[in-house]
């Protein structure tokens, strides 16, 4: 299966589209998403609800259920084309090479089995080792995730643990087999702020120890800033900006990224009274403008797809060009890509990514 030596590159996603067909038409949940991830690095997928973050994660793991399907694109993991795998090959890969942590640790454990049952099942699904040895592995992993009295915890049922503990177990489980890639789908959203920070810390420590790569899905720019090396901002199923964490927070190039960060900064800086006013204002703006979309109904994804920039209806610098032509990814500075006709950093130095290949509507980008 392995076609080439990929060097430092772990994961390459290119031109990936996921469609959901219904009787009322086809929704493109992901549109031509592309990015790459090198070994041992942490990528944050940043975006609001419905921007396609979780769909992207599931697409990478081959977990898109009908009626959804991957309609085009390429997912390459260590030279293996993941989209061509048989279900048997998937079973070997999932959990061992790529593992996943889900948002809500209560619902992602089966309530009818003990933590230990599920932990050992997970280990033994991939390693042919006796129960006793598997238990040792589990206990050790749980210790590393700073869970006290791991032996005792293994005998408990999921509901008997607190949310933070459950998520630690989840992470310990996901990291138990030293996966090369860990996908964490909003691992801290269901937890309160203090636990959130601890969990993030835990993940970072484990990541350093094991050298895994992490794709962290979040809607919180703070979490992303804390842990990520690179950040991928998504909006309505498209990648709008992709850069290392410093450039993106320092010089956001896409108006949407700038908007997202401004909400975040306002929330951080403003006093209590002001926060409530401002959040209300912003919520209104998000609620009526960003999240729902003016054009059709109130789905955050266009049912018809349509041409033009995904953000054009909420952008200050929209012109007719934006309405009709979808912007390609351009590089505004080395390693900083944005899908915008008028990036905030200016497009003087901008050049299209993948020179010569990108042309939109017959217009060659210059």
């Amino acid at each position: 299966m392995r076609t080439e030596n990929t060097g430092n590159l772990l994961l390459l996603v290119d031109n990936l589209s996921v469609c959901f067909s219904s009787s009322r038409g086809t929704v493109q949940a992901l549109k031509e998403v592309g990015f790459s991830l090198s070994r041992g690095s942490i990528l944050a997928l940043l975006g609001e609800s419905g921007s396609g973050k979780s769909t992207l994660a599931r697409a990478i793991l081959g977990l898109i259920n009908p009626p959804g399907k991957i309609c085009s694109g390429l997912v390459n993991f260590e030279g293996i084309d993941l989209l061509q795998l048989s279900s048997r090959e998937w079973r070997v890969l999932r959990g061992k090479e790529i593992s996943m942590v889900f948002q809500d640790p209560l619902t992602s454990f089966d309530p009818l089995w003990t933590i230990g049952d599920q932990f050992l099942e997970f280990i033994r699904a991939h390693e042919k080792i006796p129960v006793r040895q598997a238990r040792r592995v589990a206990v050790e992993m749980m210790h590393r995730a700073r869970l006290p009295e791991a032996e005792k915890l293994l005998k408990l049922y999921p509901f008997q643990l607190s949310g933070g503990m459950r998520q630690r177990v989840m992470i310990a489980m996901a990291m138990a087999l030293n996966p090369k890639l860990l996908i964490a789908d909003e691992p801290t959203t269901a937890l309160d702020a203090t636990v959130q920070a601890e969990i993030i810390e835990e993940m970072r420590v484990l990541q350093r120890e094991t050298g895994s790569s992490i794709i962290l899905i979040t809607h919180d720019p703070g979490v992303a800033a804390e842990i990520a090396d690179t950040v991928l901002v998504m909006y309505k199923g498209r990648v709008v900006e992709w850069a290392d964490v410093w450039s993106i927070y320092d010089r956001p190039a896409h108006p949407y990224t700038a908007f997202l960060l401004s909400i975040f900064n306002d929330n951080l800086c403003a006093g209590k009274k002001e926060i409530s006013d401002k959040t209300l204002l912003l919520n209104n703006r998000i609620g009526t403008g960003l999240n729902r979309g003016h054009n059709k109904g109130n789905t955050s994804v266009n049912l018809d797809g349509g041409d033009g920039c995904v953000f054009c209806r909420h952008c200050d610098s929209t012109d007719s060009y934006c309405l009709h032509y979808s912007p390609p990814m351009i590089e505004v500075e080395p390693g900083h890509q944005v899908a915008c006709w008028y990036p905030l950093t200016g497009r003087n130095s901008a050049k299209p990514v993948g020179e010569g290949k990108v042309s939109v509507g017959g217009h060659r980008i210059t």
């Binding site: 259920n65 999932r94 992602s108």
Partner: protein
């Protein structure tokens, strides 16, 4: 019949029905406890007598005695004799054995079949699921009794055939039910998590789905026992079930039908009462389980 009621109450595909069912859940009261005690006693007694039939029977249930046909109860025959002079009490006990055996095994056959079929259909989803469910619709559209009669006429009456055909005509409701359960369980996060962890398919179903829909299937199974017993009785009554010489409650009724009007009430009343009581008890138990389960689910 209770069988169909249980199905409409449970099937989540029929949302409206479930809602209505929830609305008119009866209040818990003492009589429901009494009901369950009575039905458990009846089931216990029937099971006890059936298992111990050889010990309780006073005569050979197959022994024909043409000198003593249609003797009334008493005088050496506890419940009298039938048209061929066979001891009704002994036949009743041995007939109970057959009825209970058919009830349970046929139910097991249909529950297993339905669970496997439904789980597969629900998990596969898409076009396979749709085709499999149309298959169920076709099976449901054919009258059960008709299939039983045709099959038994072709295959000939025997205990094994009866169990087989009742099992193979009663699995559709279970399949539908299990399918809807699997459809919804498939979307649950822990199943997705198990999938993402590389858990084999059979383990996802057996370990992470089956225990979750087991209560529903248990209710189906309980009601299914009564249904299977009734079908066996019907088939035997028509002479297409258990071979005539072997005692079964349905057989006894078939033999008795010509003699009711001659005043030989005992050849009809005893097997008839046993059928009614047993099926009623099993159905009550099923209803009670269903009610309990629904209440728990709503909480």
């Amino acid at each position: 019949m209770g069988y169909n009621k249980a199905v409409s109450g449970f099937s989540r595909a029929q949302e409206g029905d479930t809602e209505k069912k929830r609305m008119r859940l009866p209040e818990k009261h003492a009589s429901s406890n009494l009901k369950i005690v009575i039905s458990l006693i009846i089931i216990g007694v029937v099971a006890f007598l059936s298992i111990g039939a050889p010990y309780f029977a006073s005569a050979d249930p197959l022994a024909v005695d043409l000198h003593n046909v249609l003797q009334p109860p008493g005088q050496g025959h506890l419940l009298g004799t039938d048209e061929m002079g066979r001891d009704v009490w002994s036949r009743l006990l041995h007939g109970g054995r057959v009825s209970v055996l058919v009830g349970f095994t046929a139910m097991l056959v249909s529950i297993c079949l339905g669970t496997v079929y439904g789980a597969f259909s629900g998990y596969a989803g898409g076009i396979i699921d749709r085709l499999m469910m149309r298959g169920v619709d076709v099976m449901l559209a054919l009258p059960n009794l008709f299939i039983v009669i045709v099959f038994m006429a072709v295959a000939g009456p025997s205990l094994f055939n009866v169990i087989l055909i009742i099992g193979f005509t009663g699995w559709m409701q279970t399949a539908r039910l299990v399918r809807t359960e699997v459809l919804s369980l498939k979307q649950r996060e822990f199943v997705l998590a198990a999938r993402a962890a590389g858990t084999p398919l059979w383990k996802q179903i057996v370990k992470h789905m089956l225990p979750h829909f087991a209560p529903t299937v248990t209710v189906m199974a309980t009601v299914g026992v009564g249904h299977a017993m009734l079908t066996e009785t019907t088939a035997s009554f028509l002479g297409l079930g258990i071979p005539p010489h072997q005692p079964s409650w349905g057989n006894m009724l078939m033999g008795a039908q010509s003699y009711v009007l001659t005043g030989a009430w005992w050849v009809v009343v005893f097997p008839g009462a046993m059928i009614v009581l047993t099926v009623m008890a099993v159905t009550l138990l099923g209803d009670w389980l269903e009610e309990r389960y629904l209440r728990k689910r709503n909480e």
